[in-house]
């Protein structure tokens, strides 16, 4: 029997994998993909909760999350492109003018 806990643990695994990815990767696009992974983990948790609560709100929330993710992707990739134009790299360890 698959319970909600299974889904939530799977969601937690994906979320933490995404978090680790953000912390250890240096390619801005891959970091962004890791963030997408985190959002997907959250979506899974929403859908699972909705299912076990006999509720629709979770699924609707996922719908909105995806819209937001799409908007973020458009803007985020545009920002990355703009950075690449000026700097010829998207390694975020090189993008470090401002500090202290």
């Amino acid at each position: 029997m698959i319970t909600i806990t299974h889904y939530l643990v799977l969601s937690a695994i994906l979320f933490t994998v995404g978090v680790i990815g953000v912390l250890i990767r240096r390619n801005a696009i891959i970091i962004f993909m890791c963030i997408e992974l985190m959002l997907n983990a959250v979506n899974l948790s929403f859908v699972a909760c909705a299912h076990y609560l006999n509720s629709m709100q979770g699924q609707l929330f996922v719908f909105f999350t995806m819209t937001v993710a799409a908007a973020e992707a458009a803007v985020g990739l545009a920002i990355i492109v703009a950075v690449f134009r000026n700097k010829e790299t998207i390694n975020i360890d090189d993008i470090n003018i401002m500090k202290w």
Binding site: V22, L23, I24, N96, M98, K99, W100
Partner: protein, 642 residues
Amino acid sequence: MLNLVALILLFPLIGTVINGLAGKRLRKETVGYLACGAIGLSFLVSFMVFIGLLQLPPDERLFEKHLFRWIESGSFISAAALQVDPLSVVMILVITGVGFLIHLYSIGYMHHDKGYHRYFCYLNLFVFSMLLLVLSNNFLLMFIGWEAVGLCSYLLIGFWFEKKSASDAAKKAFVVNRVGDFGFALGIMLIFLTFHSIDFTEVFSAVSHGNFEKGSFTVTMITLLLFIGATGKSAQIPLYTWLPDAMEGPTPVSALIHAATMVTAGVYMIARCNALYLLSPFTMTVVASIGVITALFAASVGLVQNDIKRVLAYSTISQLGYMFLACGVGAFTAGVFHLMTHAFFKALLFLASGSVIHALSGEQDIRKMGGLKPHIPVTYKTFLIGTVAIAGIPPFAGFFSKDEILLEALVRGNFIYWSLGAFAALLTAFYMFRLLFMTFHGECRVDHHAMEHLHESPKNMTLPLVALAGLSFVGGFFGIPGANALEHFLAPVLGGHGHTEVRGAVSAGHHGAWLPYLMMVISTAIALVGIFLAYQMYIKKPGLSKKLAERFRLIHKLLLNKYYVDEIYDAIFINPTKKISTQVLWKVIDVRMIDGSVNGIAWLVGRIGSVLRHLQTGYIRNYAFYIVVGCILIIVLAVFGR
């Protein structure tokens, strides 16, 4: 007539605004007389308010002028309201009266300065803030005045900021005062917590209804915190170090802010809160002890200083010590009385010393003066009156007030207070006459260059001197024993614990009625001894002082270096932090000095800042790491932290 009280505040404010915004474009004369006029009008209104108050029966002499609702939220209400009662009237008369004379004097004194309009703008702003401080009817508004006078003092000490010593002195004054203000702010918070009000009337009536037992911890805390504020503003041990440095400011500023008015704010505040202080015998002891120790300490440092203004600065600290002694033994009237007379004669002394400095084209070292008496006769005469007044020779003003304090110290306090105070009085007479003799008598040690320009100051400078000399002469009669007008006037505020009943107790007690008169004789004798010693050392046998200095080299050196207090502060607070940071932090990371930091704590905080800023590495991944760490901590705290 009492309704006019708001005008007292309005005039200086108008002066500030006009001079601040348009002063640059106005003619110098216009700027000066505008500023003077503002304070003069303020004085006239103050006088009318005084008359108005006199017409009321003594018990009803409390008038509150509600200006507007200021801060109001829930149970907390604080109106912007002014309070006119005998105590504040005495203060506003002194502030506007002495302030007016000093403004007048400044017109001549500052005439050649390029920051003329800036000076008068600040000075008017100061008067406004000081009036706000003494006229407010609640602690919060008073605190605002308290902060504002500190700010003006800062601006005026650093007026000649091109001099590094001046801007350093300004910073020092500001930082030291912040320490005191911090105590004051905490005290106000505690008052609000305890009394649920910050209104003077409400707080003091709650106290007088006896809701608090004598010596209760809360009241002791409140009074001690307020007293910390007072030690900062009024330059008492241990927060006095800024005042001698503050002499970097223009001399009229020293006269107005650092002698006559602002530094007495602490005394005013304690007198205002007398009901609270009387509830805490412990605080009273602290106040009296700090007062008398400061009086003696500063007087002893004053013995050997060679800068004419520094001698006066230490003398101010010492005289403030007397006022705190008076408050500490419960003789608030005597404290306020001395505050008033001190304002007259110390302002006079400063202005006269300014006149000397003016005459000598900026020379301040008394070893390079001497024999000036025939060249600047008016200055000499007025300075003499001031010196006699502070030394305590009857019938000049200082005699009555100081005698009063010493008497109260003996009767209400104990013999130790009296003897220390009396000894300080001896020193006062000595160093003041030393100053007088070295400046005006003996042989002339002025260099030729300055000699050529030697001249008596213009009319608008000598006029205030003469006026203040007159006040120093007659000021004592307001509080003359027997028919003590000041005391009767102040009685409604400072309560039945004025000294009438003491005198009653004294005459009924075992000391007998002769004690006050004996004390007068003793005081006079002490002053005369001091003068005689100074005369012997500096006029009769000019070599004697040098010989003495050699014989007691250690003490002389100790005094000359002001007991090494600044050095001790450096050694305890500043050097260790410096050492730690240079040896530990400097090598670890690149550090940036904060320009000429004056204060160990500020320095340390700045250093911590320059270390911590390196947490801001600029790497996104580091920032994300902080977020994750914070996230784990918050979840742990939220879930398991119960």
